[in-house]
Structures are given as structure tokens and as C-alpha cells.
Point group: C3
Amino acid sequence: MLRQTSSTLAFDTLGRGLFEITSDISEWVAETDMSDGLLTLFLRHTSASLLVQENYDPEVQRDLERFFARLVRDGDPMFEHTSEGADDMPAHVRAALTQTSLSIPVVDRRPALGTWQGVYLYEHRTSGHHRRVLLHLIGE
Amino acid sequence: MLRQTSSTLAFDTLGRGLFEITSDISEWVAETDMSDGLLTLFLRHTSASLLVQENYDPEVQRDLERFFARLVRDGDPMFEHTSEGADDMPAHVRAALTQTSLSIPVVDRRPALGTWQGVYLYEHRTSGHHRRVLLHLIGE
Amino acid sequence: MLRQTSSTLAFDTLGRGLFEITSDISEWVAETDMSDGLLTLFLRHTSASLLVQENYDPEVQRDLERFFARLVRDGDPMFEHTSEGADDMPAHVRAALTQTSLSIPVVDRRPALGTWQGVYLYEHRTSGHHRRVLLHLIGE
């Protein structure tokens, strides 16, 4: 019999970079006692984002951050929205280029990630922030 | 008891830029009489996209458009697909860099957006177009 | 009565580029015997991605690839994660800039794509790879 449940996980980031949240999400899924279904993650912020990326080599996360830092420059004079600092508008652009929501099937009580996949909260502001991720699971 | 419903919302854009559709979506969700569930938005076009972004300061939307205009130049000689004009292929690239579908949990009869989040239809063509967004809600 | 089903489709790519998988997905949906619902695609890899794009003019796919090849250069000296080759880290960046999951409503036994929309598996490595796409459908 299909049913649904939802919850909010909160994370305190330590500033710009990728924070792996795979185990937090997997634990929540295990607690729901559903074996199969569809998991949705939704981030309630516009200056951070969600990403599925390789979780084996930490160089991947550092290279990814270097790429985004070069593509969307802090303090770019083109940006007018600077009230919260030189990293504010670049954070919104980075969020637009990545994801606010992720959909992941659940199989055998686990998010069905590939062998090298991890789920990341990507903080785009240079200072740490309190971030809330809404989780929704529908299944049985 | 879980159930599902769907509908199509149509919008006439006025040319390139972000058009907020949050209230249209929220009204539709309220009319479905479901209090909790999963809302999916799907845009049936490849030269426009969907985006969750800040809806407080309109400078954010203008800065975002300036960034994309510089990243993907209209009339770039690299592009061969020019039959519909200099803005045609850039529109497809912008769509690839943003989203065609969005998943948003519904809580208490509303899409559970964060305080400063709005849902936008991002028109990438320079002229206005008729755009259709498919809405699907499953919940109870 | 709502129900769910899921499956894995495997594809052998031939190296970098867009591979249309629309018909494979549509056939699977038709076999589930559900007329309406929500289809989710999830790619279990971090050096390839999923994309909804125009499927009419093949120039669009070639232009898209040219854009990404220029934006994320193979062998960029900025990248430290080079153990698997000059195209390895660029593949992860391209994946971050596109999608790992897609949500598409199903209407009348078909994914409700627009007239010119196709679903693509985007291989970002220069050599061919075995790629698995998880499909999940909930509906009736």
C-alpha cells in the first residue's frame, strides 16, 4: 500500500564548498521503513544548491569549486545585486547552474545511488549558513 | 488515501527574461484540495526553462540574465543551428544549463518554498512565446 | 488505484555526445500499462548526464557539444583530478552543469514531452561507457 512521509534536515555549513549529506539522507530513508519508492530532496534556499557527484576522490570537489569560482567571479562589476557582499550574486548564479531539487528512486531501503555517487549540499556563500533540506518519500 | 491530478498552465512571455509563476502554481495547488504531496513542473519546450530563484530583489533576475547573455553569446559564430535566428541556439544552451523539470514538496496546501524563493519561467528567446507548463501533483 | 514500478535500462555509449533514449523510455512506459503518472529517470554515474533537448535538428546536439567543449576544456591545468585522463574532471563538471535526474509526467501512456523534445543520455567521457538509467513510475 503506497504512502508518503516528509521531513526537514538542517545543516550548518562552514562556508563555500561541497558538504556530503548522503549518510544523513540514507538514515532518514531507513527510518521511514519503506523499501521502494521515490525520494525527493528540495533545498529551501537560493544561494546554495544540491548536487549528485563523485564521492571517492576529494580532488573532484575541489576542482569543481575552482571551476565555478572562475566561471562566476566574486565581485564581478557586471553584478548590481551586491547588498550582501561580493559573493552574494555569484551564489545565486551558481545555484541557477546546479540544482534546487533532486529525485532519487529508493530500492531495498536505500537511495539507489551508483557506486561512486554521493549527495552534496553545495554552499555558495563564503561564510557558513544554516540550510534546510526538505525530504519527501512516496512508496511502500 | 493517495491520489494524483495534473493540468497544463499556459503563459505568454514577453521576450527574454524571468517571469514569476509562483502564484499561478500556488493557486492551482490550492484548488486540488490536497494538503501534502509532491508537485512536479515540466516545461514542454527546449528554448525556455524553469528555475527557482530569489524573488525579493529584482536586480537578481537582471544580473542572472546579464550573466547568461555573456556566457552564451547570441550570434556566436561557433553555432551552426541558426535557422531561427541568432538567439535560437543560445536559447537551447541556456535551457541545458538550467532546468526543464522541478520537483517541489507540498506542505499545508502550499508548495514548500523557502521565504525568498520564487518559481520562474525563464524565456530564452528574444521574442515572446506561448509556453506550456505541465503540473502533476500526487498526494492526499 | 495508484501503484509504482521501476526498472533499469542499460546503454553502451560510443564516446562523447548526446544519445537519444526517448523511444527506449517510451516503450518501457507503455509496457507498464499505466496511463497517467510521474516518470523519474535517474542516472547512476557522475561523468555522464540526462538532458531534455530538441530532437529535430541534429545541429543542435553538435552545437551543444561544441559549447560544453569550449566552456570546460579537456586538460585544463587548473584540474588536479587527472588520474583517469584529460577528459575525466571535465566530465564531472559537465555533469554538474546538466542533470542527474529528470521528472516527466506521463499522460495517455506516454511521457508528456513537447513536440520537439527528446530525452538524451549525454556521455561526457571521450571513450564509450556502459551506462545505467534507473526508471521509476508511479501512477495508475
